[in-house]
Symmetry: C2
Subunit: 354 residues, 2 copies
């Protein structure tokens, strides 16, 4: 780890000893920061921000200038892959992501081409290279992608959904086509994450934001199996350094054992999961990342410190914990409360690493 000035995050993912529990925050480069909102306004639209390496680099680094975070995460969107497949991603104000073209049937799926990251997604790998250079070894850089199931929900529904009725109808009525879609997405994600690793990402995370909407058998068949297919294809070591993989299914608390069995290095936990129980279940095989309720960030310093202390105590002494929220930070949070969180994790966790 000699190339990193702060390697707590990588070491914790590999369940090696650290001096403090490392912490980063999902969506740490985001709207709660005034300097982010400034660059976002300057960029005009969200996709310009994502696809301009200098701007993506700038907003990636912003939270690290304010807080003692133990990792940076590439600023991007999970939907870059379907966009590179030609579906035409756009963001309509107040409605979230949308696609100009949606996937409706077997024929649409047949037509989908696995994007070559060097061609359609070079803006992402360029951003990764630039961020790595600018980070100058201060902290590791996390690359990421959406899970095949989560990407498929947007591609078939055409945007966000509450009931997932179209994609679920496909799983039930035409499972063969759904499997073809998930396989193409898994192979696209694997290529994409490997390209991020080649460009300098030192750990990667797969976000399965909507896995929790599935039945247990469908979760295993259509979401987890394709995260497994990704894990199996990833570069796991580069230049003598291990590249840890984190899998995160929001609402996946009942399936932690299955997720851990994929061979990933760490499992993300949303806030509904009891981290003590999770450690008992899977802590001998994987690291755990999480799991504070993002709603706590809207309270005050005392409550934040108390909740940090509770979660650290629930995990207990020993290796293999990366502190994080259980979901992305929301725009209404003050930067002061984020500083309180990050400092509290480092201060309070010292006692668990002696």
């Amino acid at each position: 780890m000699s190339n990193l000035k702060n390697d707590r995050f990588i070491k914790a993912l590999l369940r090696q000893p650290v001096d403090r529990t490392p912490v980063w925050i999902m969506r740490q480069a985001g709207r709660y920061l005034p300097e982010y909102r400034e660059v976002r306004a300057q960029a005009g639209d969200f996709m310009t921000l994502c696809s301009t390496p200098e701007l993506a680099c700038e907003v990636t680094l912003q939270p690290l200038r304010r807080f003692q975070l133990d990792a940076a995460i590439l600023f991007s969107d999970i939907l870059t892959i379907p966009d590179a497949m030609g579906l035409g991603l756009y963001f309509s104000e107040g409605e979230g992501p949308k696609f100009k073209t949606t996937i409706n049937n077997a024929n649409d799926i047949e037509q989908l081409i696995i994007p070559d990251p060097a061609d359609k997604l070079s803006y992402v790998t360029d951003a990764v290279s630039l961020i790595r250079k600018e980070l100058n070894g201060d902290v590791p850089l996390i690359g990421f992608a959406g899970s095949p199931w989560t990407l498929a929900t947007y591609m078939v529904e055409g945007g966000s959904s509450k009931t997932f009725s179209k994609i679920k109808a496909m799983l039930f009525e035409d499972p063969a086509s759904a499997h073809t879609l998930m396989a193409k997405l898994a192979d696209s994600v694997a290529l994409y994450l490997n390209a991020q690793i080649e460009a300098g990402a030192q750990a990667v995370m797969v976000f399965d934001s909507w896995g929790g909407a599935l039945t247990t058998p469908h979760y295993k068949e259509f979401s987890l199996a394709y995260m497994q297919r990704i894990v199996d294809q990833l570069i796991r070591e580069k230049d003598g350094q291990q590249i840890p993989v984190i899998l995160f299914t929001k609402g996946g608390g009942m399936w932690l054992q299955d997720i851990a069995n994929t061979g990933c290095n760490a499992v993300g936990l949303d806030w509904s999961v009891d981290i003590n129980l999770a450690r008992q279940q899977i802590g001998d095989n994987v690291a755990l990342q999480g799991n504070m309720d993002p709603a706590i960030m809207a309270t005050n310093a005392d409550v934040i410190k108390q909740e940090v202390a509770r979660i650290l105590a629930e995990f207990g002494a020993g290796n293999g914990h990366v502190f994080n929220l259980g979901h992305g930070i929301t725009p209404n949070i003050t930067p002061e409360n984020v500083k309180t969180l990050v400092d509290a994790v480092h201060d309070i966790s010292a006692q668990y690493h002696t």
Copy 2:
């Protein structure tokens, strides 16, 4: 059970032998039925429909005229209690339920008065009596209420919420007031459900629609503890008949053991839960109700039958299963698909009850 022509539902809740697995459907009296939409239009607004016993009775009975359902459920809304507390419930088109007055602080909570069901909620007990009379013993009638935590989310947020930031801030910043609120709501719900039982409800169900949004310790402290307080106060036997209690926390799959330990008769399962695993965990103590994904109702007869067969097989032979969806039926479903579901449960389940 001599007063019921069909007592499968009650027997299954008490884990007694039945000839077929009983089935009813959450929100079975609802917008997917053209005859419901007609009465709803006639009533003008939703609250008029709820608060006019003749109309509530009519829509309660509609699905029973079409399908061989094994239970009727009172047509009402979970928010009748906060409305009876004076918060002014109304329904704005496309936005769901709203309150004119919201609960913001300790003083607001202090002012709240536990409603006497005989006074402010007699329209509900009148509906129960009328429905019981009209049912004429064909099938049992289920009474229901929202859980204290779920009711509190609407009262503090002023309506539906995605993040529950106000009520969660209260749990963290002023837990004493939150406990006072939950205790008042629990006692109100207990009185209300007992009044429904006195009026003729033959089983009762508590809907904890938003329990899954909590951390594990907060779920136990602010939601489950107050469902326990309700269970402890309920009338459990009337006229020599047991009155079973069903508790349902959507997103509560990690807490089934705790829910079963309240002393309820049955636990509702959303569709993410593996019903086979749930039976192994708690099936010796309680009956299970659920757990088909409502999205399946939008597919076709073959898929519906196949999924009914899968869930019945997962539960397996023996007593203690009430078939249901894992959440309410949606308005886009055809009545034909509902008939397919109900008949499939009865046809396929015969083999498990010999």
